[in-house]
Symmetry: C2
Amino acid sequence: MESHAVMHYRRDNMADLLRSHDINPTHQRIEIAYALFSRQAHLSADQVMMIVNDRHAETSKATVYNTLKLFLEKGMIREVIVDPSKVFYDPNISPHHHLYEVDSGELTDIDAHQVRIEGLPELPENMETEGIDLIIRVRRKKA
Amino acid sequence: MESHAVMHYRRDNMADLLRSHDINPTHQRIEIAYALFSRQAHLSADQVMMIVNDRHAETSKATVYNTLKLFLEKGMIREVIVDPSKVFYDPNISPHHHLYEVDSGELTDIDAHQVRIEGLPELPENMETEGIDLIIRVRRKKA
DNA sequence: CCAATAATTAGACAGAGTCCAATTCCTAGA
DNA sequence: TCTAGGAATTGGACTCTGTCTAATTATTGG
Ligand SMILES: [Mn+2]
Ligand SMILES: [Mn+2]
Ligand SMILES: [Zn+2]
Ligand SMILES: [Zn+2]
């Protein structure tokens, strides 16, 4: 007996997920959300574009970028900045860090609850933390 | 009486600095190193380009990019990936983290010695850490 | 001084992301 | 059911960062 069922994201969950983040569900938005959430993977805009238009073209580049930005603003996804050439979008919004394999570009999640960061300096009074990004850059040992 | 004199980088230090990193000093490389080290600032390639060609054009875009990459390979500078649109180059190679003011793009150093990061998972046997990047993203409090 | 090598260069090119005006879609009300 | 108007989508031009290449220029050791 499982105490926590693994969340499965199906296409027909997407409209509710979108609405719960104050986003009007449309065909394109549902497809883009489904690309990210069904895979639970870190995808670039270009990868989202290819996934969504795999069978037949139906979503423009402008819409992919508009939509990812909208999801971001509404807090439905996160962005991960590790590769200087492209942004990755992350359907996992729970507090977590990243392990980045620099050669392959593979990104792995690290639960933030098991990590403690201590000794950070106080922020100036008029500043507030928006987020703390911890990235472990790893590479395959040579030879 | 100061126990530690603040390091001042002058144009005529640059050739030795370059040589100490196994880099052949040339006019362009000296100018680019001087742009970074005299300011001790985090600069984008484009900013370096503008600084170096401020008085009169003498260094091409290709050379700026070639040279920054060379400095990086030789471990003379670091790169900082926080902004999705451009890389920052950092003349400070001592272990440190970054505070990033997302609205202005301003980057501030945080000495790594005063920060402890605990609870990171073990790496797979065939992997090695290349670096740990900790970025505190802050924004000005609204109103 | 000369030949070999190293460094620089202009400019073409590529990829990520933005922008805009025109079109299409959706929905609330009549 | 029809329609007006706001919301969303679109193609494609555009910008910006960074790469590449073949030609030129600078440096160096003999
Ligand atoms: Mn479809
Ligand atoms: Mn000069
Ligand atoms: Zn993640
Ligand atoms: Zn720094």
